[in-house]
């Protein structure tokens, strides 16, 4: 039983930039790696086809680079995580080591899946993201601080205004991002609702 859900007020760690718009979940975790019945071990398959050629030789990709191996803050561009609803995508990123994602925008289901894992998806404008990605390249050991409450991202001497969806901010901050127990406690109201809906057979 995991009743204790941690409150997540901030995430601090070094960064890794992944550039490009419309990076879909098929790129984050190709479907052939989803032929599994647990999420264990998905980390090594994150961005697999972008990281390896057909003979499994490493290609140029930030997730392959030595200086980013301990990174926990992912910096991405627009519409990141579009495509399928597979939670395998954020699971793979999380298991690779990612604790927070900063981007221009996120696909809705992907962002929801991240929240269910306690991974903030923070947005900032295009220029701010490009600056952050460049800074990470120059400072692979530099710490990035994502503050949930103040909705800011700080690195080096810079602090940028970011946006965190209201519900996400409250869920992370108050430790209610895992909603099962919370919703289970309303079981009576759920039963009443089931009884009231015209299409539910008795």
């Amino acid at each position: 039983m995991t009743d204790e859900i941690p409150e997540i007020e901030s995430v601090t760690g070094t960064g890794v930039p992944i550039r490009g718009n419309d990076i879909d979940t098929d790129q984050i975790i190709p479907a052939r790696f989803m032929k599994v019945v647990t999420f264990d071990g998905l980390g090594e398959f994150a961005f697999f086809d972008l990281r390896f050629d057909e003979d499994d030789n490493q290609k140029e990709h930030p997730f392959n680079e030595q200086q980013f191996q301990d990174a926990s803050v992912l910096a991405v561009n627009a519409n990141f995580g579009c495509g399928s609803s597979r939670e395998h995508a954020p699971q793979a990123l999380m298991r690779w080591g990612i604790d927070a994602i900063i981007g221009e925008s996120f696909a809705e289901i992907f962002a929801g899946n991240c929240l269910a894992l306690g991974i903030p998806t923070v947005t900032a404008d295009h220029e701010a993201i490009v600056d952050l990605q460049e800074w990470i390249d120059e400072h692979p050991d530099g710490e990035i601080h994502v503050d949930i409450e103040s909705e800011t991202v700080s690195y080096g001497d810079t602090t940028v205004e970011a946006t965190i969806d209201d519900a996400q901010r409250r869920a992370l901050k108050e430790g209610v991002w895992d909603t099962t127990a919370l919703m289970k406690s309303n079981a009576d109201a759920v039963a009443d609702k089931a009884a009231a809906l015209p299409y539910i057979d008795e």
């Binding site: 718009n21 419309d22 989803m34 939670e87 269910a116 099962t180 919703m183 309303n186 089931a194 299409y199």
Partner: protein, 473 residues
């Protein structure tokens, strides 16, 4: 905020509580599950000592990994067999109905729900699959969820959601010859972008939508997610009701039809409903649409030139350049004549009976091009049986198509149906992402089923209107 729309009404009807996060706890009327995204959710339940709260409101099928050729057990692919066994055990232990391949009811989850009458207007429907938006064609509020949310639904029959804005997409006019629902939705995504729908639910309306059959409406709602909208719907009308009447549920419970109809009528968007945004598209101007790139938003009319990246908005240029390099297409040219190696007629977007009928009409009396591997993968066992009863299998097989069993197949390449190397595929599916069809160098061109049939015959992307006289939808 919108007011008086179907979305507002169904939302209100299913609201259980407001959560401390500000999200709404929404009751789920129908939960569909399949073998890929559910096993981990059952695992999480077990870890927490929880059981399925309303098993009678959940329905299972197997579609993503199921082989479409030899389906004898154990499956040749060990991983597929393990996933299937896991699902069988989970549904048995929880008392969940399972349309498995031995029932004759198995198929792609978004094909079988409607077939059996599980999908109904005014229901909330969720599934661990982004194309759950399909069920919105019936006036249901239907959307894809992740595995942690599947756990929530199994444990509580509810899901935590934030309310979205509503954009009405009005498609006016009459569609031209060989122009289908698929072309409408590809045009919607081209115009509004792959992230244009983020934060919105799409209501599809207007003459061109109302004139579509249910299968066409499903094709449109299906690809809402490709435009960034998690859900899309069409208000229920007589076309919807006629379709529902023939389904198992209402055949077995005819009294339910009259009982529920007032509810269905009541949740239709009001004439004076308020929307957060309205977009109008002239359907009569459309021609068959094909994609030239690697996102579903990179589409063009079959006689339109492939855009120069520089002519696109700045934030789309990089993606376009990379897409054109991957697809090996040249700006300024049309997609007409683009050589293909594979023709795939299948998927939850376009593998229902009318889709197969229209494609068969093009195929009849023709031969698949000698360099093309062509396959038809019906959306469900029932679609397959109905098509065979009409002799469509013979038409396809005589032309040189493989006639396969139901499943997701080459839409996402999780079974053995995959592109090899840099093969190009004319596909009636929904995603042209790099690697989507099983090969990272594979190239996917999305199009409607008749266009897939035409490409199979000529070996290249072809304007079906020039290949054969075709009727309108």
């Amino acid at each position: 905020m919108s007011e008086g729309t179907l979305y507002d009404k169904v939302w209100e009807e299913h609201t259980v509580s407001e959560l401390p996060t500000g999200q709404t706890q929404l009751f789920v009327g129908l939960h569909l599950i399949h073998e890929v995204t559910s096993p981990q959710a059952f695992g999480m339940l077990q870890e927490r000592g929880l059981t399925v709260a309303y098993p009678e409101l959940t329905h299972a099928t197997v579609d993503h990994i199921v082989p479409t050729a030899d389906q004898s057990r154990p499956y040749r692919d060990d991983a597929a067999e393990e996933m299937m066994s896991e699902l069988e055990e989970n549904v048995r232990e929880s008392g969940i109905q399972f349309s498995d391949p031995t029932t004759g009811d198995q198929g792609i989850v978004h094909v079988i729900g409607p077939e059996q009458g599980l999908t109904q207007p005014g229901k909330t429907i969720v599934c661990g699959d982004s194309h759950t938006s399909t069920h919105g064609a019936f006036g249901a509020l239907a959307f894809g969820i992740g595995t942690s949310q599947i756990r929530d639904v199994l444990a509580t029959q509810t899901v935590a959601m934030e309310k979205k804005d509503v954009r009405k997409i009005e498609v006016t006019g009459e569609l031209g010859p060989a122009v289908e629902a698929k072309d409408i939705i590809l045009e919607v995504i081209r115009r509004l972008g792959t992230e244009g729908g983020v934060g919105y639910v799409y209501e599809y309306a207007g003459e061109a939508i109302e004139n579509l059959d249910m299968e066409g409406r499903m094709s449109i709602c299906n690809m809402s997610i490709e435009g960034g909208a998690r859900a899309g719907y069409v208000n229920p009308d007589e076309t919807t009701y006629e379709w529902l009447k023939e389904t198992d549920y209402f055949q077995e419970n005819p009294e339910k039809f009259d009982e529920l109809k007032p509810y269905w009528e009541s949740i239709r968007s009001d004439d004076d409903a308020e929307y957060d945004d309205v977009v109008t598209i002239d359907g009569s101007e459309l021609e068959p649409v094909v994609t030239w790139g690697t996102t579903p938003g990179q589409g063009i009319g079959i006689s339109d030139p492939i855009p120069e990246p520089e002519s696109l908005p700045e934030d789309k240029q990089d993606t376009a350049r990379r897409a054109q390099e991957h697809m090996r297409v040249t700006p300024g040219e049309t997609m007409d004549g683009y050589e293909i190696d594979v023709a795939f007629l299948g998927s939850c977007t376009n593998a229902r009976l009318p889709d197969l009928r229209r494609a068969a009409e093009v195929v009849e009396g023709q031969q698949v091009h000698e360099d093309v591997r062509a396959m038809v993968v019906p959306g469900s066992q029932r679609v397959k049986a109905a098509a065979e009863a009409e002799g469509l299998d013979t038409i396809f097989e005589e032309a040189g198509f493989e006639w396969r069993n139901a499943g997701c197949s080459m839409c996402l390449g999780m079974n053995e149906d995959q592109l090899q190397g840099d093969e190009a595929c004319a596909s009636s599916s929904n995603r042209n992402f790099i690697g989507r069809q099983g090969s990272k160098d594979g190239r996917t061109v999305l199009m409607n089923p008749r266009m897939v049939a035409a490409a199979a015959i000529t070996g290249e992307v072809t304007d079906v209107r020039e290949l054969k006289e075709v009727t309108t939808v």
